[in-house]
């Protein structure tokens, strides 16, 4: 049937591009500035920048509490597996073998190769220590990093959550038929109907919305759940998944592919040869429309990434103020502000998921629109 083969292609695309998430970890938008290495003040000023960057970026281990010098129970770090594809084949070990070393001085030897971790990235070290250039950036090559990092772990966790919740809801419809829903379906049904009636049908139309509703529902609930998980500060949820540009970029690439694969003749005509305008305008508009074709998914990427990351930075800065001023008196004010901002962040989590889904359905609708 035409419907199931479309589902198969869509599932294959999503599956292939989910490797994109696993491949591109440790994606900081800026390198931690090297000035933060010099802590030569007498009172060792609290470095709030590196604290914030540490909490926002991905990492090979879950740092639950405490500082790394103490052992359990004074401090707890959950190590995650490191999986590397090198010239000698697949190398796997636990990230605890690095012994919390993050500046490239501790080497782990596996399968005849030596690895060191510098600022969260793993390098294949040729000599006796990691090679740096004059700007203090490592020059060694990096193996392909397929590790289960914090973000990958929470991605799997939220995927399992969604499978459990929606699997149970779907099965309860099989058992109850067309009566009132029971159990978790009672919670899920208004949300699904909201997406179908307010987002899918108005933008895509009655005839074709069924093909795209799985994509829209997945995007909405996956983004919303990952936004919420980013706000929970304790293990195992404390990872900034939707603030990782690789995650949002992968979702946007999927949207780009779906929109352009389902574009009909009318859609491509509007891009390359806009009807209803004089010929010089048609030629002028074509490159602009092509750029627009790429800019729309890029704006989806940056919108979600920047909103979520900015929210996390605000919360971390407010809590970090307590440590910058080194006084307990700041704590009540800081926590009040943080509470207020966190409530706004909950709203932002839902609204950004809604906007991503709505814009996706808008782009799909414009791709399958018939001539009018």
């Amino acid at each position: 049937m035409k419907l199931t083969s479309f589902y198969k292609i869509l599932t294959l695309v999503v599956f292939i591009f989910s490797f994109g998430i696993a491949l591109s970890q440790e994606h900081n938008t800026r390198e931690v500035s090297d000035e933060s290495h010099q802590d030569t003040d007498k009172e060792s000023k609290f470095d709030i920048t590196s604290m914030i960057m540490h909490h926002i970026s991905d990492s090979h281990e879950f740092h639950v509490y405490g500082n790394n010098e103490d052992s359990f129970p004074k401090s707890l770090t959950v190590a995650l597996p490191v999986i590397l594809w090198t010239g000698n084949g697949l190398v796997t070990f636990m990230s605890s073998e690095f012994h919390h070393n993050d500046d490239g001085t501790y080497l782990v030897e596996k399968k005849g190769l030596k690895f060191a971790k510098n600022h969260g990235k793993i390098y294949e070290v040729k000599g006796s220590e990691i090679a740096m250039d004059e700007h203090h950036h490592p020059t060694d090559s990096k193996p392909l990093d397929f590790s289960i990092t914090k973000n990958v772990f929470v991605l799997f966790l939220s995927a399992i959550f969604l499978i459990l919740i929606f699997g149970a809801a779907g099965r309860s419809y099989g058992k109850n038929g067309t009566g009132a829903p029971k159990g978790i379906a009672k919670f899920v049904e208004p949300l699904v109907l909201f997406i179908r009636d307010e987002i899918a049908i108005p933008n895509i139309g009655e005839k074709h919305y069924k093909k795209y509703i799985p994509l829209l529902l997945t995007i909405f609930f996956f983004v919303w759940l990952n936004n919420i998980f980013g706000l929970i500060p304790f293990f195992p949820f404390a990872a900034n998944v939707s603030g990782n540009i690789a995650f949002t970029l992968t979702l946007s690439v999927i949207v780009f592919i779906v929109v352009n694969v389902s574009g009909n003749k009318n859609y491509w005509k509007h891009i390359f040869w806009m009807p209803g305008v004089p010929i010089p305008m048609k030629i002028f508009l074509a490159p602009i429309e092509v750029i627009g074709m790429f800019v729309k998914p890029i704006s989806l990427t940056i919108r979600l990434f920047a909103n979520i990351t900015a929210g996390h930075i605000i919360v971390l800065s407010l809590i970090g103020l307590i440590f910058v001023f080194k006084s307990v008196a700041v704590a009540p004010v800081s926590v009040m502000f943080t509470l207020f901002i966190s409530i706004i962040e909950l709203l932002v989590a839902a609204v950004q998921a809604y906007i991503f889904t709505m814009l996706t359905s808008l782009y799909i609708g414009s791709a399958i629109e018939e001539e009018h």
């Binding site: 938008t29 800026r30 940056i302 920047a306 909103n307 900015a310 709203l347 609204v351 906007i355």
Partner: protein, 67 residues
């Protein structure tokens, strides 16, 4: 130059403030005219605010990249 990335982010915040302020003003006027449409207008206003916020955050991302 000193702190020019922070200056850029501040200008982006001004833009966001102006844009969202205008939405808030129009929403208030609309609710005053038709109080029975309040919830619809409110949800539309929040969505538009998020879209405008996104443009300001594009500028913040650029200032991140500069630093």
């Amino acid at each position: 130059m000193i702190g020019i990335a922070a200056l850029g982010a501040g200008l982006a915040a001004i833009g966001a403030g102006l844009g969202i302020g205008k939405i808030g003003g129009s929403a208030m006027d609309a609710i005053a005219r038709q109080p029975e449409m309040q919830s619809k207008i409110q949800s539309t206003a929040i969505i538009l605010a998020a879209l405008i916020e996104a443009v300001a955050l594009f500028a913040v991302v650029v200032s991140f990249l500069y630093k």
